[in-house]
């Protein structure tokens, strides 16, 4: 009896083992090759910075990868002949596909971002330089100067971020800096556009001065405020050019006393002042305000543009003590002492002095 029991048990074990081994041989195999390809695709996407440059796709890929591994674990926990890897294969295919997409998108995006950053950086460095050289020398509002300093710092921060490979940060900063520079330029160009509305009048004054100098075979002085130049004409030809420094608020015509503006108009020398009578080496007093200035001043008071207590001012000169490299007078034109010496020697009382905003149109000055 005992023999029969043992033998039966033996047979059960043998049958079970045979069944298990047969099942193992014919059971479905896990998609190992596909899974390895999937891991390689994810690693590739990660190396290309997909988490930063293809965030949406990479997040989806990671989520699918988790699902895939969970499905695989679940299947592997089943009895070997009950396993079904078809769902797993689908998940692996989907994960691989999105990983490849994330990798490609990361390459494209980081490549285009790098190109954009390089180009925009170079472009903004030029604009910053242009603004500093051409616009910061103009009498701008303090707010505009502050905005320029902020834009300049932002550009530098973007360059730092780009240098350490943080393209996203560099990109964001450059976008803001680009907008800031555009707004700054717009502010300055608006001011210049308004100022240059008088260009046809300046041109007329200049041509009239040249013609008169030619007709009378005499000297005439033209001050070009934009060029910061004092030009000496003889018989209608340019015979001397001197660097000029102007008033602190030189853009625009002088409207009243204390506005720190240099007047614009057709004037003449009313007095030559030698070094004993001026603190500015030598001076050529001009007839500001002329009749036109007085008319405009009175009109401005009538229209309420100026206070009724405003004064028109005077004592506008071309004098020495210049050469400081900046605009500093309260309305006069300052030349280096050696230059005022030359000019003083050649001109006389009555010599025409024409002061204009610019001899060159705006489009040619700032392009």
């Amino acid at each position: 009896m005992r023999k029969i029991v043992f033998f039966s048990l033996f047979l059960v074990v043998i049958a079970g083992s045979v069944l298990y081994l047969t099942g193992s041989v014919y059971a479905p195999k896990g998609p190992a090759k596909e899974a390895h390809a999937m891991e390689k695709s994810i690693a590739f996407a990660r190396r290309q910075g997909a988490s930063k440059y293809a965030t949406k796709e990479f997040t989806e890929c990671i989520s699918l990868h988790r699902k895939t591994m969970a499905e695989w674990r679940a299947q592997n926990q089943l009895w070997i002949i009950r396993r079904d890897y078809s769902q797993l294969s689908n998940l692996i295919a989907q994960t691989t596909e999105i990983a490849v997409l994330a990798g490609k998108k990361a390459i494209e995006k980081s490549g285009s971002m790098k190109q954009f950053i390089e180009e925009t950086q170079a472009h903004l460095i030029e604009r910053d330089k242009y603004f500093t050289e051409k616009f910061r020398v103009l009498p701008l509002e303090m707010k505009t100067l502050k905005n320029h300093s902020e834009a300049h710092l932002l550009l530098k921060e973007a360059i730092e971020a780009s240098d350490r490979g943080d393209l996203n940060s560099a990109y964001k900063k450059l976008i803001v800096a680009y907008e800031d520079f555009s707004e700054l330029e717009l502010t300055v160009r608006k001011k210049l556009d308004e100022y240059f509305e008088s260009y046809p009048v300046w041109d007329k004054w200049y041509k009239h001065t040249v013609n008169k100098s030619k007709e009378n075979k005499s000297y005439a002085i033209v001050v070009d405020k934009m060029a910061h130049e004092c030009i000496l004409l003889k018989d209608g030809n340019v015979v001397g050019r001197f660097e000029a420094e102007l008033s602190l608020n030189w853009i625009g015509h002088k409207r009243q006393q204390g506005d720190m503006a240099t007047p614009e108009g057709v004037y003449k020398i009313t007095k030559k002042i030698n070094h004993r009578n001026t603190k500015y080496h030598k001076a050529l007093l001009i007839n500001y305000p002329n009749d036109n200035d007085i008319l405009n001043f009175e009109k401005s008071i009538r229209e309420g543009l100026l206070s009724s207590s405003a004064k028109i001012g005077g004592l506008i000169e071309i004098h020495g003590d210049g050469g400081k490299g900046k605009d500093w007078t309260e309305g006069c034109v300052a030349l280096a002492n050696s230059d005022i010496d030359k000019l003083y020697a050649m001109v006389n009382t009555g010599t025409p002095v024409t002061i204009v905003g610019s001899l060159i149109p705006l489009q040619e000055l700032f392009n």
Binding site: S24, A35, M38, E39, L145, L153, D327, W328, T329
Partner: protein, 200 residues
């Protein structure tokens, strides 16, 4: 008696084979490796030593795939030894990544701290130079413009301090480096103006 012995040996042999077939994946090592990678991430290894961290993360994923591949196989083919060795290597690499990330973070942090001190000193120096700069009619407007620039630098230092306190050392470093460059250029400008004034 002979049958009894044969039967016992065969049964025991089959039980051993079946028991081996039920061998479990190295769960302890897997958990340790995952925890080590998480520690590296918590130490911001993905920010400060991104390439190193990405390589570790990819290795972990590959080992996990290998283990599931092994789990899919028939019991007699299962061999977790190479995977266990790889998991152990991941733990070692992750621990090294934690050390490296912390060191790198400290390095950037120390650099920002030094830069903050340098920027504050430069700002004070610029403000002192403004007092020495020529203040005549010709200098007034330029000094006002420089004063504006200094307020921008001051604001930038304050913003850097906020980023520093938030632990955003890389962004803080970008900001303070730009501020230092600007403060240095103002220092140069003021020194030039003072030197030019003295010559006259």
């Amino acid at each position: 008696m002979k049958n009894k012995i044969l039967f016992s040996v065969l049964t025991l042999g089959l039980l051993v084979v079946l028991a081996t077939g039920c061998q479990k994946a190295p769960q302890v090592q897997m958990d340790l490796a995952k925890a080590a990678v998480d520690s590296a991430k918590n130490a911001e290894a993905d920010t400060y030593i991104a390439a190193e961290f990405n390589a570790i993360q990819d290795s972990l994923n590959m080992v996990m795939t290998n283990i599931e591949t092994i789990n899919s196989q028939s019991f007699w083919k299962r061999n977790y030894k190479p995977s266990i060795a790889q998991l152990d290597a991941i733990v070692v690499a992750s621990n090294a990544a934690v050390t490296n990330a912390v060191a790198k973070k400290e390095e950037v942090k120390a650099k920002v701290e030094t830069s903050l001190t340098e920027a504050a000193a430069l700002l004070a120096e610029d403000q002192a130079l403004i007092l020495k700069a020529p203040k005549g009619k010709e200098g007034k407007a330029a000094l006002e413009a420089i004063q504006q620039d200094l307020t921008v630098i001051e604001a930038s230092i304050a913003e850097t301090t906020v980023l520093f306190n938030e632990g955003k050392y890389m962004a803080a470093n970008d900001k303070i480096s730009a501020a230092i460059e600007k403060a240095n250029s103002i220092k140069q400008e003021l020194n030039d103006a003072i030197a030019k004034y003295k010559k006259r």
